[in-house]
């Protein structure tokens, strides 16, 4: 049975039990508690489906989900479009011995605290921030632009984060690509553009999909960036969840909204996984 013979009935279980118990106690059990909570009435505590039906009938809740999905889709597409050429330049045009440094620099702001990074964008985008002061200073605009507290600000903050993340993953992808594919394409007479479109791009597509999925999951579940940069104009789902807890102490509704959010991520995962398999076949 066991790989190493002796004294091995109790030992393996003694090793794995603490981690399993921890996960059951502080991950599975909270999840069950959240599920039960989502089915109880905030006032009185009896069984109800009202927390879920509220989401589907109240348009302001429904719109938060639409906003979440829109912002996430916009962020994912822009981030990939910006990061892919950037990663390609780092992988193909920067000399080999400088690549490590170039990549480290490209993700350096990753190491600022997440809250601080969103705040920094506020400094740049505020009414009297760097961009507005610069533009009015050189006389390009008369009145400062409304940049902060908009969807534009939320998207900018997100894109900043995900361009760094995707540059890392796409760079790794491009470096794993064997140069012989490109040589073969060139030998067969393909120019650089055709080689890229028909060889490099399709081969890096699964990696892009993984990056896109990561972006989707992290973006749709994030509270900090929309709250700091987007303000309260166009709420997204995590803001709505936090609002139920913060302002009203309504745990059942917050639980129901969290579960709905998680269900959407799960559906996206299933859709994505299937799509990936088709691509590989």
């Amino acid at each position: 049975m066991s790989v190493c013979g002796r004294n091995s009935r109790a030992l393996p279980w003694a090793l794995v039990t603490p981690a399993l118990v921890w996960t059951l106690l502080f991950f599975v059990l909270p999840f069950i508690a959240m599920g039960l909570s989502s089915l109880t009435a905030h006032e009185g505590g009896g069984f109800t489906l009202a927390n879920y039906s509220q989401f589907f009938t109240d348009p302001s809740y429904w719109w938060a989900m639409v906003n979440s999905l829109e912002v996430t889709a916009i962020v994912t597409v822009i981030s990939i479009l910006l990061a892919y050429p950037f990663a390609w330049i780092l992988a193909e045009m920067v000399p080999e011995r400088r690549q490590r440094l170039a990549l480290m620099l490209a993700v350096l702001p990753f190491w600022t605290s997440y809250v601080v990074r969103s705040y920094s964008w506020l400094l740049v985008l505020a009414q009297n921030g760097v961009i507005n002061r610069t533009l009015t200073g050189i006389g390009l605009i008369g009145e400062p632009l409304q940049l902060a507290n908009t969807r534009f600000a939320t998207v900018t903050g997100f894109v900043h984060f995900f361009v760094m993340l995707l540059t890392l993953t796409i760079f790794a992808n491009l470096k794993q690509l064997s140069p012989s594919y490109r040589k073969a394409a060139a030998d067969l007479g393909a120019g650089p553009v055709r080689t890229f479109l028909h060889v490099v791009l399709p081969l890096t597509l699964p990696g892009i999909m993984v990056g896109a999925f990561l972006t989707f999951v992290l973006c749709i579940g994030d509270y900090i960036t929309p709250q700091i940069l987007g303000g309260n104009n166009e709420l997204v789902m995590p803001q709505l969840v936090m609002m139920q807890i913060g302002r009203r102490g309504d745990f059942p509704l917050a639980s129901a909204l969290s579960i709905i959010l998680m269900a959407v991520v799960t559906i996206a995962y299933l859709a994505c996984a299937r799509w990936l398999k088709i691509e590989r076949a």
């Binding site: 030992l11 399993l20 991950f27 605290s113 505020a126 361009v163 998680m262």
Partner: protein, 260 residues
């Protein structure tokens, strides 16, 4: 034509670098502002806001809390992660794949939902909000990470060394302490440092699960209520500096250790 494409590529790369660095440069520059607003024109350099941060008892105690939570929760994560990875890699256990899946499951759930779940559970069980509660949450998010890193690094090579030690008569605990831990040291350190950085930067779980005593990201969040403030810039720049030191340390100690 080729030269033009090359030029365009470099311009593009520099523009993206500019975009990536813009907020960080603005953050650090205006942390040195002499006047009370972190907006142009630049009036520094002055260290007045760094002084303000270091003499702010709330911020310094939050910093100590953050370090404490990060170190202790990472130690717990790495201990649980290491033992379970060792157990699953060395022994054939019934339902192994399923149980391993269970341990790594929290990786797929967003921090907000993990925090929400713990909040509902603790609220229901009457556990008060505290740093301990936040630390428990941090172990939930970091344990699967430590487990995955260490489990993926436990190969046949290590099994053979352990088997040799056992054949020479070493007891199981001796094998663990004198063979497995030293051999796995790089993966253990990697898991520990990654946990440290995630816990150090984690906001939403700490925000939900702490009240009076809290961690640095939550305290910075509270500072944001006062709007744009050079003090926030200063504390943000300090956090950035600490992270950079951690990353450089990580680079120098771990990545250089790999056999050439």
């Amino acid at each position: 034509m080729r030269a033009a494409v090359r030029l365009a590529a470099w311009v593009y790369a520099i523009a993206v670098y500019g975009f990536i660095f813009l907020p960080v440069v603005v953050l650090v520059l205006f942390s040195l502002q002499a006047t009370s607003f972190p907006i142009p024109p630049f009036t520094g350099p002055s260290l007045r806001w760094y002084q303000a941060v270091l003499s702010d008892a709330r911020l310094t105690s939050a910093l100590v809390n953050s370090l404490l939570v990060a170190v202790l929760s990472s130690l717990a994560s790495i201990a649980l992660g290491f033992l379970s990875a060792w157990g699953f890699a060395r022994f054939v256990l019934p339902g192994s794949a399923l149980l391993r899946g269970l341990i790594t499951l929290p990786l797929t759930v967003s921090y907000l939902i993990i925090g929400m779940g713990l909040l509902v559970l603790f609220n229901w069980a009457g556990v008060p909000k505290s740093l301990l509660a936040a630390g428990i949450g941090h172990v939930v998010i970091n344990l699967p990470l430590c487990f995955a890193i260490i489990y993926s690094q436990m190969g046949d090579h290590q099994i053979n060394i352990e088997r040799a030690a056992r054949d020479l008569g070493a007891a199981e605990w001796k094998v663990l302490l004198m063979i497995t831990v030293p051999v796995m040291a790089p993966a253990i350190f990697a898991g520990f440092f990654l946990s440290m950085t995630f816990s150090w930067d984690e906001f939403v779980i700490s925000f939900l699960l702490t009240r009076f005593e809290t961690t640095l990201p939550v305290e910075i969040w509270n500072l944001l209520r006062s709007g744009l403030n050079p003090k926030t810039n200063a504390v943000g720049s300090l956090v950035f500096a600490v992270s950079i030191v951690l990353v450089v340390f990580f680079e120098l100690t771990l990545l250089r250790r790999k056999p050439a």
